[in-house]
Symmetry: C2
Subunit: 428 residues, 2 copies
């Protein structure tokens, strides 16, 4: 059997980033009895009422009654190839307008295989020269740095602050890039409860970020996976809703608010392209998508479309029960950490986000795979080392705790175990 | 609104290749009354018995009865994220062993979002250096050249012969690459009824290609989309079934034998990787996939898994009725061309493939978009210009006729119109 040594394969495969997810899955499979704060997976209770066939029927009914399509034609749509741009773009565009104040025409959207494909498509379209740089907050979601790595795009990290992003550092990165004959082409942010940082960007910072994007000519790639967990009445407008100049590309997913197994996400890309501005960035993304996955499964789009229609076409309505559960879990996790750790270990600190799935914790020691093995084997509790989220060594002593898919009693048990682990292994 | 001029976007977006599919769709939408020989889409009659929910139930039943999974756990699998490698790998591996003599363990497979994603993943994994070249038969499926374009991989074309591939030219390309300090890393072929060429590679040529791959150290990327249309009793073993040294990566799709809307394909990649050969190429592809689409929709995998199970886990059985219909259509197309064109236009020639979806035709004039407009507007018949399939100008006077989704009477009408068009526009 032929052997292909690592050096002969693409460089991304030698980056620990790409192996980090499978490592966590592997650890979890070895310790099935451990309480796992590792995966940011949806809560299984939220799958209880899901009936794909009912949603498909609802979507077909919509095509027939509202769009005047023949039943035969509507049914065939599910099984055929479909447009690379997507089928349910109008439903998603309407929902974004209603729920988030994002006013984009349906054909400025592309429906993607999850948000991950959207990230890849956007990076591929926008990065035309090796001198283009992608700025990311650090720490940040490894899906964006991983996609950049696949495409050999150079990344520059900008510290995440409690306000979202260090705008002075971002500006400095733009200036420095320019001095080196390069440019910051785009900046990736999750303005609403970032993964892993749990940070929400205040309105004034959002406005300043948009001004900086205009001044320095970079695009903002906004990932809105966790915005739906905002406390009711305390939502903030997404960057795209504030964007008057077209500097924001907005990326979303149905994985958290519907279910991940549909693999449906979307991207709003209304920027003008073409030599005369006669095309949109969405046109370009659809063309690229035709060479990545051709089109997003029409069957899966019908499932998500029907789910939206059952909830009056509203993202807020389809996600309401889920948002409540996640907020409850997060509050429980933060409270349990306070109860079980208190200020017994002054060198162990953690944040208290108002939304999202994650709490991050700072340790006085390296939080690496070896420490995770001890935590799993001896104390029965799993977490995510944060180094893959960081571009520097700033994450080496940090861990991420996810509470999304646990029951409150599991959170309680897990935090008890974590506290014992920290007191015995860290304090000594 | 910001304007992003073409020169600031990735170079692939300036390649006519990426726009060729949307151009055809656009022409088809403008001439809905025309008979279209353009798309290689499945026949709509084949969707009649398809019931996704029934297949999902069948797959869940399999997980519960055969795998001992709890009903709750099995049902949750549909909705959760899943492993990047896939869920139905064992069913696909068993089917490949039974139907095609491809003996690969389930974990040497990755289930992908159609064959297109498999092509992209394989190219990304294998091409680590800008000096690596991809060899393709010319003409060839634009999905492979398009994916290579997205990843800035240089492509070298080797003429397709009636025997599949000009092996002397392929060897010469390897030698020349070496002389330039480069190497042919892989060669893409569709040994069974290529798209668009309709060529099948004889057994002896398959063996010679494998010997050349071993001698020159390149991998063979085998795309088996159309193998199922071989006349019963006249099937040939896929290259992967003949591969003893691990030089073949085998790519397949359920789009043609089940339905395209599921977006499920697969890749067999049992090559050893890792510094000590402790990993497989499938492991690497799964790691890359985690940054492209994360995983293939478990719901769609369940649909395909259930469809396979309903047909005793056999690819041949699930595709039998479809293969019969496509062979019938192809024979009808070839016969109609003979009847309506005969040898009236000696400068117009075409091939007579034994399988696949396509006939190719040589004209004495340029078969470009302008000529297609005349054919559509005045004669009511559409076809595909072949230049996007070619790496040279050899396709400029060629067109492709697809018969997959038409009824015999439509084929008849379409060929009549095509004959009138050719006699009036070409002969004059």
């Amino acid at each position: 059997m032929i052997h292909l040594p690592p050096v002969t394969l693409h460089g991304s495969l030698r980056d620990p980033l790409l192996g980090s997810i499978s490592f966590l899955n592997e650890v979890m499979s070895r310790y099935p009895q451990a309480v796992s704060f590792a995966p940011g997976a949806p809560h299984p209770r939220l799958f209880e009422g899901i009936e794909p066939q009912r949603y498909v029927d609802r979507y077909l009914d919509h095509l027939i009654r509202d769009k005047g399509m023949s039943p035969d034609r509507a049914r065939r749509l599910l099984f055929e190839y479909g447009p690379s741009r997507g089928l349910i773009n109008d439903l998603v565009a309407d929902a974004l307008r209603r729920d988030h104040g994002i006013d984009a025409p349906a054909d400025a959207l592309v429906v993607t295989v999850g948000a991950q494909e959207a990230l890849l498509l956007v990076l591929r379209a926008l990065f035309g020269s090796p001198s283009d740089l992608l700025a990311v907050v650090s720490p940040c979601f490894s899906g964006i740095t991983g996609a950049a790595r696949l495409l050999d795009i150079d990344v520059v990290g900008v510290e995440e602050t409690t306000q979202g992003v260090d705008l002075d550092a971002l500006e400095a990165a733009c200036v420095q890039a320019q001095a080196e004959g390069r440019r910051v082409r785009a900046c990736y942010v999750a303005a609403d409860f970032s993964n892993p940082g749990g940070v929400r960007m205040p309105l004034a910072v959002r406005q300043r970020l948009l001004r900086l994007a205009r001044a320095k000519g970079f695009l903002v790639l906004e990932d809105n996976a966790y915005g739906f967990t905002a406390p009711p009445g305390h939502e903030l407008p997404p960057l795209k809703a504030l964007d008057r100049s077209g500097h924001v590309v907005h990326i979303g997913t149905f994985a958290k608010i519907c279910f991940p197994g549909a693999r449906v996400g979307y991207v709003v890309a209304d920027q003008r392209t073409g030599s005369t501005g006669d095309r949109t960035l969405a046109d370009e993304l659809a063309a690229i998508k035709s060479m990545v996955t051709v089109n997003t499964s029409p069957l899966c789009q019908a499932v998500i479309g029907g789910m939206l229609l059952e909830h009056h076409g509203s993202l807020a309505e389809v996600s309401r029960a889920k948002a409540t559960l996640y907020r409850h879990n997060l509050a429980h996790l933060v409270a349990a950490l306070g109860r079980h750790l208190g200020d017994e270990l002054p060198a162990v600190t953690w944040n208290r986000p108002e939304g999202g799935f994650f709490v991050t914790m700072n340790l006085p020691v390296i939080a690496d795979r070896a420490l995770l093995e001890v935590s799993a084997a001896t104390y029965g509790v799993l977490w995510t080392p944060m180094s893959p989220f960081h571009l520097t060594d700033a994450g080496d002593r940090r861990l991420r705790l996810s509470c999304s898919y646990l029951e409150p009693r599991e959170i309680e048990t897990g935090v008890q175990r974590l506290a014992t682990f920290l007191k015995k292994e860290i304090a000594s």
